[in-house]
């Protein structure tokens, strides 16, 4: 999750007030500053184009659908209902405190249970706006504080000493992360904050038009 300066129009690239700056790129990937052209990105098997080491391992690139992960792990036998019940728990937590997950800078979360013949698996897929490696400790702290972590105790391979062993928890997420080989963005590289700002502007503008009638 990013450090949050209150976002300003100044801190973002705005094509009307500033000449477009070339975006520094180390590999030949689609440009990042054109939200109006849908983009797809095929990603090498490793999950990255060029190995860039983060504190806990390779850093995954930002793609047209921003950052994200797909953590897949096998559910311990007999724990399906316990996992499903967490759907309600998280729903209630967000209802009670709508900003509880805000520090994660999320767009969407998808929690899926599936069995393709090798036992029940849990997939936790998140799309967000910050680098997984950089803010992983903050995410784990938030999972702990909101009780999200306890759902993971139903998964095989989850470290038993998760309460005191942060590196092991981070290791679990990294080991169970399945990198995408293709990501697509209809409005590429747009952050959730930018979308919310645009919608707010639209709302304000449309309210103003209503008043003018």
């Amino acid at each position: 999750m990013a450090t949050t300066a209150v976002p300003t129009t100044e801190s973002r690239k705005s094509p009307t007030t500033e000449t477009a700056q070339p975006v520094e790129r180390e590999v030949d990937v689609p440009t990042q500053n054109d939200w109006s052209t849908p983009q797809a990105m095929a990603i090498p098997k490793e999950g990255y184009f060029k190995l860039e080491k983060g504190r806990y391992g390779a850093i995954y690139p930002r793609t047209p659908s921003n950052y994200g992960f797909s953590v897949i792990a096998k559910v311990k036998p007999g724990r399906e209902q316990a996992v499903r019940d967490y759907g309600k728990t998280i729903e209630a937590a967000v209802k009670g405190a709508p900003n509880v997950l805000a520090p994660l800078k999320l767009h969407y979360l998808r929690w899926v249970l599936f069995d393709v013949g090798s036992g029940l698996h849990f997939m936790y897929q998140g799309i967000f706006d910050t680098d997984f490696d950089k803010y992983i400790e903050d995410a784990v702290a938030l999972f702990n504080a909101t009780g999200v972590t306890t759902v993971f105790t139903n998964l095989e391979g989850w470290p038993e000493d998760w309460r005191t062993n942060n590196p092991a928890v981070i290791g679990f997420f990294r080991e169970h992360q399945a990198p995408s080989f293709l990501e697509y963005g209809e409005y590429p590289y747009v952050t959730a904050d930018e979308i919310k700002k645009a919608l707010k502007l639209k709302e304000t503008f449309s309210g103003m038009l209503d008043l003018m009638q």
Binding site: M1, A2, T3, T4, A5, V6, P7, T8, E10, S11, R12, K13, Q21, E24, E52, K53, G54, R55, Y56, P103, D131, K134, Y135, E137, D138, A141, L142, N144, D161, R163, T164, N165, N166, P167
Partner: protein
């Protein structure tokens, strides 16, 4: 409510706890050619190591000794591989191996480090703080003599440090900024946080074996007698390019006042220490020196857009205060000082190396120190800035910007010069007294 155990001050080395009235220091970086020689050297020095209990700022000692070891150093003294494997991976790998993660690239890269820094032969550092140069010299001679009795313990390099004489009060670094303004207060150590510095931080954030801000704290590396009450310290020798810095100020400020403002924008504080958030337009030296006021500010409410303190200014990066979460898990204790001669005002760059050589203490190098380097100092996307690193200490190669928010139009400085270069660094473990004794009494099978 649960109360945290009181830190064992008679066990913990004083280094991260008490800041004595020292004006000089010397670091000696050592290698042990044989385990026995290292242990014998250590055994004879343990009594000279000051504990947090014995060393007190008001007491009239005149020298303060600290000893710490790299992972290779622990191995060289005879700590076995099974035990070493219980220490965190980042400590075992060492700073040089993780230079990319820290952003230490280009001229900052370990390939360019000297004095045995980054080498597997670097085993220990003995840190001496002394009341003055004379006392430091006496200690230097004494340790030199001591080393002649310990064949097999060799000095890889040394560094002398001294306070920069200044007309202004307080400690300053070579660029002229007042230093040592943000110091975390630790639970059980009797410190009172200064206004705006946040709450007291649990001892486990700095010393192993205590509850930390998340809970009971991680399991101790083994054997516990070695790790309990210990800390990790990251060493950084940062050369400051004073000539380039002053040229930059002149280039971007016509008058003295304008130059001072540019200097303040880079740091987030005037050189007096006065924070821009509280005094955005002109310096306020009285505020700068007043510890009851000079940290009493936040960013989210008081300066959200960075019109006072730019979003990418050094202090805003290294302590984003209320604009980041889990700040209490990122605090560190910095110890050290300046080295090299001060460059007189208006003197041209003389090519002599000068800078800051500091140790950053914490309980987790990866979560505290490396986070600060990787995410705050050298992350281009910090605060969505896009193409900036820390302007003072970050890795600069002329390709990054520095943005100064301003009405009606912001000022963007392109191609910021390199004001500092990492000349060396290492990760050390700072054992407590029992840990030192354990190491000195190890037997090699």
């Amino acid at each position: 409510m649960e109360t945290s155990p009181t830190p064992e001050l008679e066990e913990i080395q004083h280094f991260l706890v008490s800041r004595p009235a020292a004006l000089a220091a010397r670091y000696e970086f050592l290698t042990f050619r044989t385990p026995a020689s290292g242990r014998k050297w250590l055994a004879g020095l343990i009594d000279k190591v000051g504990t947090a209990k014995a060393v007190h700022p008001t007491r009239l000692d005149s020298r303060w000794v600290t000893i710490a070891f790299t992972s290779n150093g622990l191995r060289a003294l005879g700590v076995d591989e099974d035990a070493l494997a219980t220490f965190p991976e980042e400590f075992r790998q060492g700073m040089a191996a993780r230079a990319d993660i820290l952003g230490a690239t280009g001229t900052n890269h370990p390939d360019n480090w000297r004095g045995g820094m980054g080498s597997d032969d670097l085993h220990a550092v003995i840190i001496l703080f002394a009341c003055d140069d004379k006392e430091r010299e006496r200690c230097r001679v004494e340790h030199e003599k001591y080393l002649t009795q310990h064949e097999g313990v060799e000095v890889l390099s040394t560094l002398d440090l001294g306070a920069i004489p200044s007309k202004r009060s307080g400690a300053h670094e070579h660029f002229g900024y007042r230093d040592r303004l943000s110091v975390p207060a630790i639970e059980g150590m009797g410190d009172e946080p200064t206004p705006g510095s946040g709450k007291r931080i649990k001892a486990g954030e700095f010393f192993l074996g205590y509850p930390d801000e998340e809970g009971e704290g991680p399991a101790l590396p083994r054997p516990e007698v070695l790790s309990n009450n210990g800390s990790y310290i990251a060493y950084m020798r940062l050369e400051e390019h004073v000539g380039a810095f002053r040229d930059f100020l002149k280039q971007h400020g016509k008058t003295k006042d304008e130059q001072e403002l540019v200097a303040a924008k880079l740091m987030g504080r005037w050189r007096s220490g006065a924070p821009l958030v509280l005094s955005p337009d002109k310096d306020d030296p009285e505020l700068g020196g007043d510890m009851q006021r000079n940290n009493d500010f936040n960013y989210k409410e008081m300066d959200p857009h960075g019109y006072g303190c730019p979003l990418g200014a050094h202090i805003r990066r290294m302590n984003p205060r209320d604009t980041a979460v889990n700040m209490e898990r990122r605090r560190m204790i910095r110890r050290g000082g300046t080295y090299g001669p001060a460059l007189p005002e208006d003197a041209p760059e003389d090519g002599v190396e000068r800078g800051i050589a500091a140790f950053i203490g914490c309980a987790s190098l990866v979560r505290q120190f490396e986070f600060a380097m990787n995410v705050w100092m050298n992350d281009k996307t910090f605060h969505e800035l896009g193409n900036e690193h820390d302007p003072i200490c970050g890795t600069q190669d002329g390709s990054f910007d520095f943005t100064i928010p301003k009405r009606p139009v912001r000022k963007k400085i392109k191609g910021l010069p390199q004001f500092s270069t990492l000349r060396g660094g290492a990760y050390f473990f700072l054992p407590a007294i029992k840990g030192l004794r354990y190491l000195s009494e190890l037997e090699t099978s």
